[in-house]
């Protein structure tokens, strides 16, 4: 009697809940793969599946950072611009010094720093994340244009191409980067105490603070992580394009948010979600785009379909919350 109903609900209910939760995204992905494989012969080929993973990598890596931010109850709209700015600056460093390693290190450091800057404004100035990152979205993008004078930077060190073209144990290097990122993020979120702190802060910031959690530090940390992971995404994208472009990453924040939301992380309430769902969500988006191209759907319609998919995902999220009450 003391417990509210759902603890005692039937197995059927639990299965339903699982389906709508993490598992649901998986099933959605398999359905999608099944549909496209019926519509096209090449879709399920090993080569194309590999393509899908490579295409999903940049978004997946950025979305991992976004997941941390959203679980902590915040939002980061600046990732696309942050990607452009770190690309431009690190590419320039690579050109000037000729050192690939230095360029990469600078990209990672700069990304983390810019993320921390977002976090500082949110945590220590008490400004809403939506506004702060909306502002830095323009600030970073504008800086990228100013520094590059609007021109793409080409002639990057040869070594960078290896990331995009090479493979290890038959799996493309880019996919390895994605796998390592997700294993690390999964570990941080589920096996370290900081993971519990992130969930608690997102669920109820004031309660977490009064319980002795340094919520400001947690907030700076999640934004820094988002910046760090975005800069990894920047390096991956540079190696694929073999150049750094000030227009790169436009609207990436939205695809990253979409991946997290499709994966079951809740935008409306912090403290809900997980990293595995986001990976599935990112692969789902890449599969959808890839499949639509293969079956010759125009790029205009692709966007319409993407919008519908996100609506469905949000509706499922809403329904899931309702039944878990």
């Amino acid at each position: 009697m003391e417990l509210v109903q759902h603890e005692r609900r039937t197995i059927g209910f639990r299965i339903k809940k699982q389906l709508l939760g993490g598992l649901g995204t998986f099933i959605g992905l398999f359905l999608l793969l099944a549909i496209f494989s019926m519509l096209s012969d090449v879709f399920l080929s090993a080569g194309n599946l590999q393509n899908i993973l490579i295409q999903s990598a940049t978004n997946a890596i950025i979305a991992a950072g976004m997941t941390f931010v959203i679980i902590a109850g915040q939002i980061d709209l600046s990732v696309g611009s942050l990607l452009a700015l770190t690309s431009i600056i690190s590419a320039q460093i690579m050109l000037d010094t000729g050192s690939l390693a230095l360029g990469i290190v600078c990209a990672l450091a700069l990304g983390t720093l810019l993320g921390a800057l977002n976090g500082f404004f949110v945590a220590y100035m008490g400004l809403p994340a939506f506004i702060v990152t909306l502002a830095t979205m323009w600030l970073f993008r504008g800086s990228a244009y100013v520094l590059s004078k609007g021109q793409a930077i080409v002639g990057l060190p040869e070594g960078l191409r290896v990331l995009a073209t090479g493979s290890f144990l038959g799996i493309p290097n880019i996919v390895w980067v994605m796998i390592v990122t997700y294993v690390a993020c999964y570990f941080v979120l589920t096996r370290l105490t900081i993971g519990r702190k992130i969930y608690a802060t997102g669920d109820n910031q004031e309660s977490a603070r009064l319980s002795g959690i340094h919520v400001k530090a947690v907030q700076v940390l999640v934004f820094s992580l988002s910046g760090f992971l975005t800069s990894i995404g920047a390096i991956v994208l540079m190696s694929r394009l073999n150049s750094a472009q000030p227009v790169a990453g436009t609207s990436f924040e939205l695809t990253a948010i979409a991946a997290a939301v499709i994966g079951g992380t809740s935008l409306t309430k912090g403290g809900v979600g997980g990293i595995v769902g986001t990976l599935v969500g990112a692969v789902f988006i890449a599969s959808l785009m890839n499949g639509l191209v293969i079956i010759n759907v125009s790029s205009f319609w692709q966007q319409v379909i993407m919008g519908i998919v996100i609506l469905i995902a949000v509706a499922i999220d809403k329904y899931r919350k309702k039944i878990s009450k």
Partner: protein, 510 residues
């Protein structure tokens, strides 16, 4: 068709099942015209489910509800329920603060000058709103004022007026006094008495026993979904009522651990000198001894919570001196205070006391993660052991991964307290430790607080319930307007003494 003594409301064999649970099990009782019935029961007894059925928020599986002898349909919506004459007043008020009093009272049923374009007839609206408020003898409320600017009891009057405006025959009041001072509570009781005169049938739900005896005619007691007793309030005692609710014999607490050691050599655990925040708290000085439970009483608004939050470091602006465990202590931020051994159970578990969306075990470990981790890594096994320990010690009903928001109020409060026991603090400030908790859980919480303090630690209990201070404290401070107004020792701690200090002080100041 209705006779004078025919019941206004009848429940006949009402049942409601949730998978695996009978929340309400063949409950029948009736409420007469002008009768105030106390619906009693510990948390999870089925009171709220029954009231949700009445209000149309839930559908009953079996049974019949009759109003003035007429059976209601099996399924109806909350707005249809209002049309049947069922009004609900909850602890959380539903008035909209940006609208005026009159607009709130006639929300969605405004008087229109024309159908189209719909222009509101404000003159009539204000007149009618005034008429409703005068039924409650609340003439002093300006109907044109924004509701948000009113004090809490006035807002409650508006809420009641809103229910009356739909010609309500049955009024359900769920914990209406939780945020009211004793003065305000008395005013609410006046309103209830005048509603009685107008023939409104009232169902009154409260965990505060003394209120039941003051205002109710009959007590209907539920336990495990069943109706176990219908008692005439005039003929029973407090303890009898508690026994009926819990099914257990009621025992008073043993305070010897704290009082026996009241010798000259007792050690000061906390010493606060001239604490101020330059806003509300004015030069407050007091001390807490080892093994002692210090109570702080006072009216709502006497700034007891502000004092606690200031000392704990939840709010900025502290100035003054504090010696804690013999060392100077300066409150800055909660996580530092906790590390130094000072804890604070917040007064509102829903707002800032718990992470309702997270599992029980994660809530408990928040205050001390070092003890459940190896380096940076979170140790789930140790976490589970911590959960098992407190679940057994405090009788928390739920599994380690049960989401706290799904627990009953009493269990939630136990989790909140377990969280602070886990913190390993030397001194814990318990702010309203039993708010919204039933009598059975209350007794357990009192025992926990005493046990905690008995081991060389100390506790401060802030409470608006006089009975609670009497039951659990060794010494009681009375606060008023940000100052310590009185101090009561040992035998002086009685219900009447505390009440008179609280109210006399109020009269002096105003």
């Amino acid at each position: 068709m209705t006779q004078r003594d025919a019941p206004v409301l009848e429940f006949k064999q009402i049942s409601k099942h949730y998978p695996g649970v009978k929340a309400v099990d063949r409950v029948s009782f009736s409420v007469g015209k002008g009768e105030v019935v106390a619906l009693m029961g510990i948390n999870g007894a089925g009171k709220s489910t029954l009231m949700k059925i009445l209000s149309g928020a839930e559908t009953r599986d079996e049974g019949e509800i009759r109003i003035d002898g007429k059976a209601l349909p099996v399924k109806y919506t909350p707005s249809e329920a209002r049309a049947y004459g069922i009004g609900m007043i909850y602890q959380e008020l539903s008035v909209l603060s940006e609208l005026t009093v009159a607009e709130n009272i006639y929300l969605t049923r405004e008087f229109l000058k024309f159908k189209f374009p719909p222009v509101i007839d404000y003159k009539k609206l204000h007149e009618e709103a005034r008429r409703q408020l005068s039924k409650l003898e609340a003439h002093h409320i300006d109907v044109k004022q924004k509701t948000g600017l009113l004090a809490l009891p006035e807002k409650q009057m508006v809420e009641i007026a809103k229910a009356l405006a739909v010609d309500c025959k049955i009024l359900v009041m769920d914990e209406p006094t939780t945020s009211l001072t004793s003065e305000e509570t008395n005013r609410l009781f006046e309103v209830i008495r005048s509603l009685k005169k107008h023939g409104v049938a009232i169902i009154y739900i409260s965990h505060r026993m003394d209120e039941i005896f003051q205002i109710c005619d009959k007590a209907v007691v539920m336990r495990d979904g069943k109706l176990v007793d219908q008692l005439d309030v005039r003929h029973i005692t407090h303890d009898q009522l508690v026994e009926s609710m819990t099914g257990k014999v009621f025992k008073r607490l043993d305070k010897s651990a704290g009082t026996n050691r009241r010798s000259a050599d007792r050690k000061k655990l906390l010493e606060v000198r001239n604490a101020t925040d330059r806003k509300w708290i004015k030069n407050v000085s007091f001390e807490v001894y080892e093994n002692e439970v210090l109570g702080i009483g006072g009216l709502v608004g006497s700034k007891r919570t502000e004092l606690a939050r200031l000392i704990f470091g939840a709010d900025p602006g502290f100035s003054g001196d504090i010696l804690f465990q013999g060392k100077p202590f300066r409150p800055t931020v909660p996580h530092k205070s906790i590390r130094l051994g000072l804890g604070y159970l917040s007064e509102n578990r829903k707002e800032d006391g718990l992470n309702l969306g997270r599992p029980i075990q994660e809530n408990i470990i928040l205050t001390d993660m070092k003890s459940v981790s190896t380096g940076l890594a979170w140790n789930r096994k140790k976490t589970n052991q911590v959960f098992e320990k407190y679940a057994a010690q405090m009788g928390i009903k739920g599994k380690a991964d049960t989401i706290v928001g799904n627990l009953s109020g009493g269990n939630q409060q136990k989790v909140a307290i377990a969280k602070w026991l886990h913190a390993g603090c030397k001194l814990i400030i318990f702010d309203e430790p039993t708010r919204g908790v039933d009598v059975a859980a209350k007794a357990e919480i009192y025992k926990m607080i005493r046990d905690f303090a008995a081991n060389g630690s100390g506790a401060i209990v802030i409470s608006s319930e006089v009975e609670e201070l009497v039951e659990v404290c060794d010494r009681v401070l009375i606060m008023s307007k940000g100052e310590i107004a009185a101090e009561l020792q040992a035998d002086e701690i009685t219900h009447d003494n505390i009440l008179s200090r609280i109210t006399s002080r109020e009269r002096k100041v105003t």
